[in-house]
Structures are given as C-alpha cells and as structure tokens.
C-alpha cells in the first residue's frame, strides 16, 4: 500500500499552512538560503548552463532507450554478484523487500534517505511485518519520530524549527537526563548522532535509494552530506537499493556530468560530501561491506508516462530546485501538496502516479511564473506540463462547475473580439464609476474568491487593449 494522499484536500491544506505561524517561520529558511546558494554555485562555474543542456540531452537519450539500458545494467549487476528484482507496483516492491528481510530473520532495517521508498510506503510495510524501520538521515529521523512525511525531497524537515526538534528529542529520548542542554543545533545533532550510531551497528539490513544507476558497470550511486547512506549500506549484512526505473545513465562519464549539476542545483554545493559508487556485494578479500547486494527496480506507473507528453518529467534527478524557487511552495510548504512529492515537480508527477482525479488541484496551484523551469537542471518544462494536466482535468470534467461555467462565458466573449472589447470597456467604465469615491472595492458580485482576501482596485482610464492600440502596439 503506498502512502495515503491528502492531495484532494489541497485547498484546505494550503489554508491551514498559511495560518501556521511556526511553518511560516521555517519556510523563511527556504526562501533565503536555497535560492542564494544555488545562484552562487551556478555563477562560480562558467560551464554550468552548458552542463544543464548536456544533462537534459543525456536524460532524453536514456529515456528513449531505457529498456536497453535497464537490460545492460541488470547484466552487470548480476555479473558483480548482485541480485535484481523488478516491481510493477508499490505493493510488489514492498513485498520483495519484506520477503528478503523476513527470510534473513531481520529485526532492524536502517534506511538512507530515499524518496521512492516514501512513494512505495516501505516503512509502514516493514513495520506491519514486525520489523523496525529506522530513518538515518537527520531530517528523516526527526520527522519519523513525529510521524510525519517529508515536506521537501532533499530537506525533509525544512518545515520545522529548532524548538520543534528539541521538543521531539525530549519526548522520545527519555533515557537521557531531562536537564540536558538541547538549546543549540550542535547538541541536537550530537544526540541524534549518538543514538543513530548504535542503530547503524545493530542493523540487519540497510536500504538506500539511488541517485543514478550506471549501465556500463552495474553501479548504484548515492549522494549524501551526512554519511548516513554509507553507514546504512556498509555495516549490515544485506544492502538493498530501491530505485525507480528511470534512474539509469549510460557510463561513469555520464555520472560525472550529472553530478556536476545535481548538488549545485540542490543545495548550492559544488559537490555533496559523500558520492558513493557501489557495485555488487563484498569481494573475497574484503574486510567490510555487505554480503548481499540487491536492487529493486520500481516502475509504479512510470513506463506508462513514456511516449506521452509527460515523458519529460522522467528526466527529473530530484534536486529540489523547482520547489526551492516556487512562490507557492514558499507560501504553503510541502505537506499541503498531500503526497510524497511537493512543489512543481510534485504537481506534475503526482497526477501521473496517483491519478489526476486525486491530484488535479496540484497543477492548479501555480502562478506560472516559470522560475521552476528556469532553474531545473534538466530543463523540464514544468509550467507546460502543469498546463497539460489542467487541460486534461478540464476535458475529463473534473474541474468544479463554477470554473467550467466561468470559462465557458469567458470563451464566448473571447471568440468574439468586437463584442469582447465592447463589453470589457463598458464594464471597466462602470467599475471605474462605481469605485470612484474609495478607489477600491471590498466586495464585488461573483468575485468573492478575490475580495474575501484583498481589495479589488477600481480601474482607471481605459482598457489595456485600448491603451495598447493608442500607443500603436502591434497585435
């Protein structure tokens, strides 16, 4: 069973988020830090724009040949002594991992940060089967204690403030002295480090995601800053990589190319601290490392996106730049989106994976400012793809009746330009006259969606079209 979605309640979610002062304070960190850091990293590398173009082409090439790269990759993993499992759905993926863990008598499963494991609902599946699933990324650990989902794909606890973390650690880590100092971020980190260190050493199975899978060598690559992914995969007897099928890249050279745009786009680092290339299990003369190496390749609806207008979305390398730069994300945070993937990439991907009937609100939650596309390292046309979803939503009569009638009336006039000009200039004059005294309206018929939250300024002068014509502007 994959993660339950609250995407259909996006409007209510967003409403709550806007009134949550703690959340609004935390979101200030996204607005400030991510944007500035990425800009500096991009400016410091003259080749950055060319690298983005190259990354986009590379991902397109892979998607057009994904079946063949998967086959080549599988062959190399097997040759290196690893195992490859294919899962059509979330349920199949979880079952594969649960069966693996059960067969080995596992009690404790440590996890590196992995969005696809969130997508398939792996933690819940492991726990239903009597195993402890332990998130080891600091942010993931914090939200797991709170029983929350990540609110950002690379900064899962970005919706929290330091006080929230302190309160949670005091609630859960009751074996530690109650009067200990947890008022500095450093002491919070030290406490998490000590607790998770013992979990790493006691773990039976380590599950990580993969940023890239290299077809040339059968290698999985993870990128972390904390080193938790490495301890997750290095210490237990079994390493399970769970990755979606589009993560393939052809060669080690392509890995280098993609790494150059990933961290810069994500955190604004030139390179993440730990980039780890893993190929198969422990070798005969090794003195550490996992004895078994498994890869679970998850489709979960992606193969159906190929060949459609949404294929471009599969170029995504999960850097999070789109949400870091999104005014809607800045305003409501990630949880409002109601499923695993928030922000612009989530607004496009979520309807593909769980259905436009459930997630149709998300592509509407956009100002179409285009910042997401302008920073996407693989040039995904996110606004265009959101528009495609809006069109589908409309075609399938999923939009509310008021929206449909409204658009119908507007279309009637828009198709008749002379009538449109006449009516709009009449309406403008009428509004200008009515609002003359105050200069704005606190209420207007049929415009409650606007005037409930802000005043509507009274129009001044003639319509835009009339002014444009007067200035001799082209049609």
């Amino acid at each position: 069973m994959s993660v339950q979605s609250t995407s259909p309640q996006f409007k209510q979610n967003a409403h709550h988020a806007l009134h949550d002062m703690q959340l609004q304070k935390a979101l200030g960190n996204v607005r400030q830090n991510f944007i500035e850091r990425r800009a500096v990293a991009a400016a410091n590398l003259p080749e950055f724009e060319a690298l983005r173009d190259q990354a986009c082409d590379l991902r397109d090439h892979v998607l057009a040949h994904i079946d063949l790269y998967l086959e080549a990759y599988e062959k190399k993993v097997l040759a290196a002594g690893g195992h490859v499992h294919f899962a059509r759905t979330s349920e199949e993926a979880c079952q594969i991992i649960v069966d693996l863990a059960k067969a080995r008598g596992a009690k404790s499963v440590t996890k590196g940060k992995s969005m696809v494991s969130e997508e398939i609902g792996l933690n819940a599946a492991l726990e239903r089967n009597g195993m402890a699933a332990i998130e080891t990324d600091l942010g993931e650990y914090i939200i797991q204690l709170r029983g929350e989902a990540p609110s950002h794909i690379i900064a899962p606890a970005v919706h929290l403030n330091q006080e929230d973390v302190e309160a949670e650690f005091r609630r859960v880590h009751t074996h530690l002295p109650a009067d200990r100092n947890l008022e500095e971020p450093e002491t919070l980190l030290a406490e998490a480090r000590a607790i998770l260190r013992s979990k790493f050493l006691a773990s039976d199975i380590g599950v990580t995601g993969a940023n890239f899978l290299v077809a040339e060598t059968g290698t999985s690559i993870i990128v972390t800053n904390e080193g938790n992914g490495d301890l997750t995969q290095l210490l237990p007897k079994v390493h399970v990589v769970v990755a979606s099928i589009e993560k393939l890249i052809p060669t080690l050279e392509d890995a280098s190319a993609m790494l150059r745009v990933l961290a810069r786009s994500a955190t604004g680092q030139d390179m993440s601290v730990y980039t780890t290339l893993s190929t198969g299990p422990r070798r005969p003369d090794d003195v550490d490392g996992p004895e078994e190496y498994h890869v679970v390749l998850v489709d979960n609806g992606r193969s159906n996106m190929l060949g459609t207008q949404f294929q471009d979305m599969l170029r995504c390398i999960r850097c999070g730049a789109c949400m870091n730069h999104c005014p809607v994300y800045h305003a409501v945070g990630g949880h409002a989106y109601g499923w695993v993937y928030p922000g612009p990439m989530g607004a496009v991907l979520t309807p593909s994976l769980i259905g436009v009937d459930k997630a149709g609100h998300l592509p509407n939650a956009s100002t179409f400012c285009g910042r997401c596309e302008s920073v996407c390292p693989v040039h995904i046309p996110l606004p265009k793809l959101m528009r495609h979803w809006r069109e589908r939503e409309f075609e399938r009569h999923l939009a509310p009746a008021s929206v449909r009638y409204g658009l119908g009336i507007w279309a009637y006039f828009a198709k008749r330009p002379r009538l449109y000009r006449l009516t709009s200039s009449l309406a403008m004059r009428l509004l200008a006259l009515a609002g003359k005294s105050k200069g704005h309206f606190r209420w207007l018929p049929l415009a409650g969606g606007w005037t409930d939250y802000r005043d509507m300024p009274a129009p001044q002068g003639s319509t835009f079209q009339a002014q444009w014509k007067k200035q001799g502007g082209d049609r």
Binding site: F86, R197, T217, E253, S256, M271, V273, T276, D286, L306
Partner: protein, 223 residues
Amino acid sequence: MSARDEIFSNIRRSLGVRADDAARSAIVRNRIDQARAGIRPKRGEGDIPQRLATFKSQAESVSATVAIVESAAKVPQEIARFLRDQNLPATLRMGEDNRLTSLPWDGTQLALSRGASKGDDLNAVSHAEAGVAETGTLVIVSGPHNPSTLNFLPDNHIVVLKAAGVVATYEDALAAIRKAYGKGEMPRTVNMITGPSRSADIEQKLLLGAHGPRRLHIIIVRN
C-alpha cells in the same frame, strides 16, 4: 507474465519500439563502449602545481584541512602533529595498504592498529587513489588496503594522497579506476569524499560531523 517481462513490454509499447531493433541496440552499445566524456570544467585544469593549488583551495572551502609534505617519510610526523594540535589521542587505525604500513611510524608515539573499524576508533588513515582538483574531492577505493568503514566510523579521518594523483576532473579519476580494474568492472565501493560530514537539516544551519567524520585532514605527498 513476470513483473520484469511486463515492465519491459510496457516500456516498449509506450515508446513504440521493438526488442529486436538492431539499430537501437547498436546506439546503446556504442554509447557504453565509447564512454565519451562531455563538457569538463576548466577550473581543475593545469600542471601539477596548479592542480594542487586548486585542489587545496577547494578542499579547504568545504572545511577539510590540507597539509603538503615533501616525502612519504614525513607523513607519520604530520599525522602526529595534527592529532596533537587537535588535542586528540595518539591512536591510529589503518588498513593493509603498503603505502601506509611501510612508513616510518617508529619515530612517532602513535599507537597503531590495523583492519576495518567496528565503530570504536577515534582516528583513522586511508590512502586515496586520486584527488579531484575541480571540487577538492578525494577518491578512495574499498578493499583490505583501505576498508570503507575507516572512511565513515572514526571521528577524525586522515587521508594521504600523492601529488601526482591530483587530477583535474572526476572523469580523470574514474578513468584511472577503469584502467586499473578493466572496462565495465568496478571495485565494490568507490567513495568520492568532499570535506567532512555535515548536515543542514535543522533550520538550514550547517553543522559538521553528522554521521561521518567531524574532521577531514588531507596530507599530500609532493614526491
């Protein structure tokens, strides 16, 4: 139909391609065989002194410390100095790498131990195969010589690197591994390490020493 077969047939149906299309197969085979490098940033380029300087400044910019010594024989003294200056115990764990085990350790008071880490070592030393100038990144290969646990479990990680091993780009470093292990073959783990462990998960404040080493000290051997 198995999950595997169904996924492949779904992909091919969506893409409108056939499994036996020889032209497509040739494109993919060539792409993998040729493994051509793409755009490589210029900033890592230059002769050895230039690459060394870039490597050093990049590594320092991500909170690693870098020392350059004239010969391998000076490495033990430098490690002893580093540990002393940081008020750390004079202990050191390492793998079986001859480039480390053969050094003149007798001149120091360091208590040495060998093998993988089980989590109770404060200090460890590894030998890197390469350093990448463009981002100050170390490339360390797993095996009995340099067990991967030494890269992550100790609080303080010291890494020795030959000046000639400092290359311009990731491609250069990975090509050297390909040459050593053979085309399409890889060591179990290649760790590319850029600075000490860190996290910014609490209010975006950057803190060092999340799960891996709190300190990363790089010693470059000039000759």
